[in-house]
């Protein structure tokens, strides 16, 4: 529909990423959902940041679904969305939420538990 190309199914792997597969849980599926509200610069930035991050760390085994709450406001309650943009890691469990435009890659990785946090 009008996801404006923001919905990325499986992106083709680039050469660069093939050699840098994560260390463990190789076959884990990552199911990510990004909640935005309309085409704001912030949501576009968030999507771009997310995509870059996934390509770098989860190449080939992630799925991003973008939900525009302006079009589907009823979806906000399900994942308890307050802030926009919010990235929800549906899989692997447990659910994690990262709010913001993901500008800070380090923190985003910590939030996604791709990197051990500083507790």
């Amino acid at each position: 529909m009008k996801k404006n190309g923001m919905t990325e199914k499986k992106s083709p792997l680039t050469l660069d990423e093939i050699g840098r597969k994560p260390l463990k849980a190789e076959e884990e599926k990552w199911d990510l959902r990004l909640y935005v509200a309309g085409q704001t610069p912030r949501s576009i930035a968030a999507f771009a940041n997310l995509k870059r991050l996934c390509e770098e760390h989860l190449a080939g085994r992630y799925h991003i679904e973008v939900v525009d709450l302006i079009k589907h406001p009823q979806l906000a309650a399900g994942d308890q969305i307050l802030a926009i943009p919010t990235l929800v890691r549906k899989l692997p469990q447990p659910i994690r939420k990262i709010v913001g435009d993901l500008r800070d890659t380090e923190r985003a990785l910590v939030g996604l538990q791709l990197r051990p946090g500083k507790s």
Binding site: R42, A76, L82, T86, R96, V99, G100, G111
Partner: protein, 584 residues
Amino acid sequence: MGSKTSSQPSSNHRTLPKAPTGIQGLDEITQGGLPRGRPTLVCGSAGCGKTLLAMEFLVRGATEFGEAGVFMAFEESAEELAQNVLSLGFDLNKLVRQRKMAIDFVRVERSEIEETGEYDLGGLFIRLNAAIERIGAKRVVLDTIEALFSGLQNEGILRAELRRLFRWLKDKGVTAVITGERGDGTLTRRGLEEYVSDCVILLDHRINDQISTRRMRIVKYRGTTHGTNEYPFLIDEDGFSVLPITSLGLQHEVSTERVSSGVARLDAMLGGKGFYRGSTILVSGTAGTGKSSLAGHFARAACDRGERCLYFAFEESPGQIIRNMRSIGIDLASCLKKGLLQIHSSRATFYGLEMHLALIHKMIQQADPSVVVFDPVGALMQAGTHQDAHAMIVRLIDFLKSRDITAMLVNLTSGGEALERTQVDISSIVDSWLLLRDIELGGERNRAMYVLKSRGMKHSNQLREFLITDRGVDLLDAYIGPEGVLTGSSRVSLEAREKAAMLASQQESERNERNRQRKREALEARIAAMRKEFEIEDSESALVAAQESARSERLQEDRRMMAKSRRVDEGNGSTQPRGKQDSR
């Protein structure tokens, strides 16, 4: 429940539009309700009833004013909320089904959330907006939006977003209630009052001497006048009620009608007609002087007139009161059965003062009595500080007066205190004051009563002996002699002595009378005797006179005869000589 009394003063001709809350009393203090189309902040410490106030605002809006509402909960889930308010008779699920209400539970879990970079609270706006649009809501509650601060770290963003949210709510034209936890020295922990400045209501739940009281104050309300005092409120099975009692003035109507005290002699002492209707009567005295008995009479008299009476007892149970009154011949059970009398017993320490006041207020509104008894009013002292108790009773009296209710306040004077001193210093605000006291004399203790004051009527200045008999209270004239007031046996013995003295004097006078009678009789006898004597003498002397005349006649006759015989010349005419017979 039904429609609440929201008396809107006519003075505010151009006030801003208001959304009635439907909460008893609150609409009176705010003179019509919360500012329509604007957010109102309700703040207070934990457990003071913020959520309930907000919820009732929505429920009443939906059920009584046809305004649907959205409840956005940050602390409790919809199920929990529904369950919590079910006990107040609010069926949220039904309202939700009827699309009169929407509940959205916003859960903010810090541990699940990581923040990176810029964000806004668009999600919240969208959810709120969706809910408002779905049911066409006119009212919104955010309870408690401060929870966001614990879930999200970036305070700068949060504050900016809250400001935007409240602005947005205003633009949306919904009447919103935002709750906030009270902070240290500030109204809310996160300074929400900075954003919501149209109307701020502060709820307070304080503990004094282990007794809790709930109070409400309107800190500010832009663009309208409002009551500024602290008002007590209570939360009970009917929901939230605020008691605008402090807003009463001294404008109550006064009545010239009189009501009987139930004791004929007492009525006689009060200008012959009893108390004024709507007046406040204080009955004070030391323990066991018969205060409650007097109150019993008063209650009974009201029921006999067919009026309703509410009896608040703070020391005895209804059963005990009925039994004790029956023992002195006052039948309250039948009044109870007829529904004219209601007895409410509760320990003074059971609730806080405000709660007592609130309950009393409420019961009076429900029962609409014309007579109220508080026995003993001083017990309320135990439920709060002296000052609070005093303030409360003043408010109570004002309230009763405004409803033209005749109230009898029974007050115990503890031993050793001046009799004219009441526990709660209410003597100056009552209209009539009956003082009961005991008099110790001659090895016994007796009761006495006098009317210490009674405004606006002629009243007796006499001390009366107060007797409690099988047929209730009786008042007798007390003897006041050189030995002071005599009561009880002393009075009886004095009465006996007086009776004896009276008898003696009566006998004395009878004796005198008899003496007089005797004297008179004696005198009359003597008079009679003298008269008799005189009559005898009189008749004797008459006899003598007759004899004398007879003798002289005879003598003359004799002379004539003698002269005849002596042939005396006929013509001589002289006395005939005696020799006549001799010549024959």
